[in-house]
Each structure stands twice: as C-alpha cells, then as structure tokens.
C-alpha cells in the first residue's frame, strides 16, 4: 500500500463511509491478503499444520510406518514412570538454570567494558559477536569436541602445568559442564542488545550521580541496572526459551546419544531419539507438547516476576 492511499484512508475515516469506499476497502484487504499469502501458506503448511498434527499424534501410538492408533492420555501417563525422561528434564533444567544466567552475566560484563568507549569498538564488537554466529553450528560443536577431548587442546595446556585433565566431554561428570560452557561462549547476541541498551541510558544521570559523589559501583547498581532492566528482561525471556529448545550442541558433542551415560541427554535429544530412533513418534509428540507447556510456564513466571524488578522509564 502506498503512502498516499494510507493517508487517504485516514481522511476517509473522518467522513461517512460510502458503499463505494467500502468496496475499495475490501479490495485493499484482499490485496493485503494476497501479499500475505506466501507467508500464510508457510505458516499453515510448515508451522500450524504440523503442530496440530503433532497434537493429534501425541494422543496416539504412532510408529512412523503404520497409521497412528488413538491411545488417549497413555503417552502422558507413560512419562510419569519414564526414568530417562526425568533424567533428561534434570539435564535440561540444569543447562537452562546455570547456562542462561551465566551467559547473560558474561554478556553484560563484556557490554559494560565495550561501552566504556574502547578504541576500535566495532572490531571488538564483531569479534565478540562471532561465537554467536558460529556457536549453534555443527562445525563448532565438532571443534568443541576436539578442544575438550582427552588429548584435546585444554588437556594439552593443562599438561604443561603437570595436570592430567579428564576427558571433559566423555566423562559423565563434566560433559554437561562443557556444553554449558559452549552455550556461555555464544554470548554475542545478548551482548549486542545490552550494548544498544546501555547507549540508551541518558548520560545526565551519570553526570548528576558523579556530582553527588557516587562511586562507579553505586552508579552501576542505582542507574545502569534499573535503566537496563527491560533489556535484561527481554534477553532473559529469549534466552530461556531458546535454551530449553537447544539441541544441536548436545547432539553433536555426544554423537547423538546424549552420552556418556545420559549425562547430556537433553529433553529435545531424548525426544528425537524416541521419535526417530525408536519409532515412538506418538510419545515424542507428547514430549514436544510437554516442552511447550514448560516453556510457556517459565515465560509466564518471567512476565509475572517482571512486575517486581523491571523498571520502565516512560
């Protein structure tokens, strides 16, 4: 729609709507829908359709090869006694509850340092952002595997100091930690958002605080943090949702089996194994809806809690 027709629709609204104008409006709507169509087709065919299908499948026994059979809530009741599923929830919650705050903390720290007006800021910004572009990729997960392997880079460096490091990724007690570290390393996206947020804080607050003799730390607690809280909130919501769904790193690093001994068996990975490895697509679909529910609950909690700590300037 051109600017002119938009403007004319404003003027039109003031007066009475003639039948002719009504027709024109309808025509405009039609045009809009036609332009929306490619997206709508995608939404229906690629998102909503499969979602409804998976909702249906979650109430069935479906082995991929034969038509699904309705089993009601059986898949959901099975989850209650599935020890591996409970373990996968534990792994996923550990990952989210440790990984997200850690990643946001690092992102904020780096953003604060960069905001101090470093020379060559664009360069550093790009360098720090780079892992975010790569971190979710298969290549980096493979690289990670090499770095943290028994004879990998980390252990070679440790060996210089006479320390025999464990097989970080192949030892069940450190494997999840290595993947959390990989996640923390991809702090670039929230960092960029923090950086933009920091730029938005009016300088006069800091100037006034300085006049009153506030220390840097006081300025951070009293000005930066409250002013930045909407941005922190935004990052928190996004990262929690994203982390619950993370799959690639664990899949590659563990070679697809969530090993060693299920220590990196994320909920999504278990879902994938159930669906595609064990021909239990009904159960996998039910798991997907449980994950959606969990993410929904977390997001709701986030929004409710935000009333108590997020400060909007306007």
């Amino acid at each position: 729609m051109s600017a002119i027709s938009e403007l004319s629709s404003i003027t039109r609204r003031k007066g009475k709507v003639t039948p002719e104008e009504k027709k024109a409006n309808r025509r405009d709507n039609k045009a809009a829908y036609i332009f929306l169509l490619p997206w709508l087709v995608g939404l229906v065919a690629i998102t909503i359709g499969p979602m409804l299908m998976s909702l249906y499948l979650s109430f069935t026994d479906y082995n991929l090869l034969q038509p699904p059979e309705w089993t009601g809530l059986h898949n959901f009741t099975r989850m209650l006694s599935d020890a591996r599923l409970h373990n996968s929830l534990r792994v996923t919650f550990t990952y989210v509850l440790i990984g997200v705050p850690l990643q946001l903390g690092v992102a904020l720290l780096i953003a604060l340092v960069l905001d101090k007006g470093l020379r060559g800021l664009p360069f550093y910004r790009s360098v720090f952002y780079l892992p975010s572009l790569l971190g979710g990729s298969v290549a980096v997960a493979i690289l990670w595997k090499q770095i943290f392997g028994t004879t990998g880079l980390v252990n070679q460096v440790l060996a210089m100091f006479g320390i025999q490091g464990p097989g970080w990724i192949s030892d069940p007690s450190t494997a999840l930690g290595s993947i959390i570290l990989l996640h923390v390393w991809t702090f670039g996206a929230p960092m960029i958002i923090f950086l933009a947020g920091l730029r938005q804080i009016p300088n006069m607050y800091y100037e006034a605080a300085k006049v009153d003799g506030a220390t840097t730390l006081q300025q951070f607690w009293r000005i930066t943090l409250p002013m930045l809280s909407p941005i922190i909130f935004f990052n928190l919501v996004l990262q929690i949702i994203g982390s619950f769904q993370s799959f690639t790193q664990a899949f590659i690093v563990s070679g697809g089996n969530g090993g060693p001994s299920d220590s990196t068996m994320f909920f999504t990975l278990y879902l994938y194994q159930k669906g595609f490895g064990q021909f239990d697509m009904g159960y996998a679909s039910a798991m997907a809806w449980v994950l959606l529910l969990i993410i929904g609950v977390f997001t709701a909690i986030n929004f409710i809690a935000s009333k108590y700590w997020v400060f909007y300037d306007d």
Binding site: Q66, G149, S170, F279
Partner: protein, 445 residues
Amino acid sequence: MPLFPRPANAAKKHAEAPNAGARRRSRKAGAVAAAIAAVMALSACGGGAAPQNADGTVELRFSWWGGDKRAQLTQEAIKQFEAENPKIKIKPEFGDWSGYWDKLATQVAANDAPDIIQMDEKYITEYSSRGALLDLSKYDIDTSKLDEAALNAGKGAKGLTGIAAGINAATILANPAVFQAAGVPLPDDTKWTWDDFGRIAAEITAKSPKGTYGAAAYGTDEASLGVWLRQNGKSLYTSDGKLGFEPSDISEWWAFLKELSQKKAVPSASEVVEAEAAPLDQSGLATGKNGMAFWWSNQAPALEKASGGDLKILRFPTKTGSAADSELWYKASQFWSASSRTKHPQETAKFINFLTNNVKAGEALLADRGVYPNSDVRAAIQPKLTPADVKVVKFIDQIKDELGEAPAPPPKGAGAIQEIIKRYTSEVLFERLSRGMPARRRPMR
C-alpha cells in the same frame, strides 16, 4: 536489462480505468497465488508422480551405509548394472551408520523411502513386520545359489524381505605391528581363553608407549555380548522374540570389562566413549593405538586399508581354550531390501537380482559386504579378490566346523540395543553403577 521485463502492453493496461484494472489485477494475482499454493502443497506431499521419463527410463534410489571404500565399490557395481540396463538409472544415497537409521525412518514415514534399501538384521523385523518392505519372493529373483542359512536370515512373517548381501562373522582383529613393538607374540586363536585375552592385552599396554592399549573395549555394540552369551549357553534373543538371558549372565560380562579396564588392558573410560564416535578409519585399530579390537569380518579389508599395514583376523577367545567352543555364527552382514511402496518393483527386483547373482556385481563389490552368499559368484570372483579379501574368505571358511547354532533373529525394537549397551558400558566404566546393577535394570524398553 531490467530484472523483471514488463510485457509490452503493461503500460497500456495501466492507462485503463483504475477500478477495472485493479479488479483484473487482483483476480490475476489470486489465480497466481492459488497456483503457487497448489504447487507448494503438492511438492510438500513428496513422491508425486513416478520418476519415469518420456524416453522410458526409470530412476531408482538406492541407499546404504558405509565408508569411502564401500561407496567406490558400490558405484562401480551400479555402473555395471546401468551398462546392462540402459533404461534403469540408479541414484545412490549413502552415509555413515550413525545417521542412516534416523534418515531412513524419516524417509519411510514421509512416504519417500529409497527403492533399494541396505538393511541390517537389527532393524529388518522392525520394518518388515510393519509392512515397509517388499516381499521379494514374489518377484523374479533367483535364490537357488544362495547359502541356505543366509537365505533364511532374510525370511520373516512377511515373506522374504531381505536378501543377504554377504556373510560375516564376529572377529577380533589384531594389529601385528603393535604386538611387535611391544614384544608380545600373537596369540594362538584356536586355544586362547578370555583370561589369555586380558593378560595379553594388559601386557601390550604395559610395554607400549603411553596412549596405546592392548585392546579396544568391547561393549559398544551387541556382537561381543552375543558371543559371550552363547559361550555361556544363553543367547541375545529367543526365537519367540524375547531376551535370551538373565541379569546375572550379562553382569558377568560387564564385570570382566571392568576388570580389563582396571588393569589397563583397554583404554580409559573417557577414551572408550570418545572412540565410540570415531568412524572406522579413525578407530584405535586403524590408527595403531589398539593392539586388538572387536569388528565384523567384512570390515577387515577397510580397516587394513585405513591402518596402512597388515591385520590378522582372530577367533574370539573361549572359556575352555578350545576353538570348538567359540560358538561363532554366520551372520548376514547386510540385506538388500526393497521399499514396499516402490513404484517400480520389477526394476528394483532386477537390480537386487543383479547384485545377488551377477558375476559383474561380485567383481565390483568383492568382499566388502562380507563373503558372497552366492556360491557361483563366490567362486568366480576368487581370482579378483585382494589379499585382504582373501584373508576374510579364508577365515570364514576356517571356522565353518566350529560354528554354533544359528541365532534367533532380533525382534522388533532390537534397533535400540546398541545404544542401551553403550550407555550401560559407560556407566560401568565410569563406576557410576555397581557392576551387578546395569543388568538388573531391564535393558529392553
């Protein structure tokens, strides 16, 4: 030049009354949009019309798992087939074992299965019992020259859904270079016991540079467990599709592995886990880091090629010290199966028949998928075999009289067994469970 050249009369159209023009435009746009939507919906369904070209050529898709060597050999066999059958084109799809089954399951579910499928015994019941595989006995495939045991392995409730591509046996492959460097003599595999195996492996580790171990750990698949159970009078599965062992039988197996690990006869727990993910040509045996390792006999030539040296095929150790008690068996290394939904069952059967019975296919494939189950082809390709292939054929022949009974076919759901065993093996090696425990948790779902 403009990116989207307008038709010559476009300008004229615009000059028309705006209302009429808009109506026509939107009607046209609606039609275009509907057409786009229809095409998208159709292509989303997959499959569509059978890929038969105007000139009558038929394209078949053929998928297998395996490494580079197998890909080369198989492509050569395809070339030979296409030369004989110019109207049939074979499109290969191949990849690693680890991703193969996920992909196949998805393709079958999406009604997009390859026409010819390389199948494994762990999965054949899973697929055939659900009607995903074609009953090949209904088509023109000559099975008269096949070894009976190999032929029977592909038979099930739904008919002949797989034809053995090769015959295999569980073996221990030894790298003589590692033995020599450690100054340890190779064992006499007709007489050795499991204790000998542990002792020799520990000795190699002790006398080798750091990072080299006497043997790879077993317990990363079910083959070695199958041998162990059979030597103890049990089996992985029973003929009625249940587990053929008790928790106590299997905990002994892990207890011995733990013992091997403690005396460093096998790599550390972390290294075992890392080795699981390595492809064949980066395995400990191929890189000279392991003196011995557990492999199927058909994998020996590929491993030999990767290691760049000579490998020796050994029988499994026994409890009694007599090869007669080794309880090995001939396994169908892989099967040729066909999708039950193939649009060209005749041509698919023709290709499987070619792979099974044609000497030219045999000359291309050699012994990569195991010893040829067709006795005529086996004899005809003998002179073409590489020294490594000959070794495999000889080994299969040598153990002929020591074989135990043919094992029961894996039941539905057996595809998960490898992951389950791997998981508990790492729990045992990392001492996260007491060694009696894993068996008590029922390993099947």
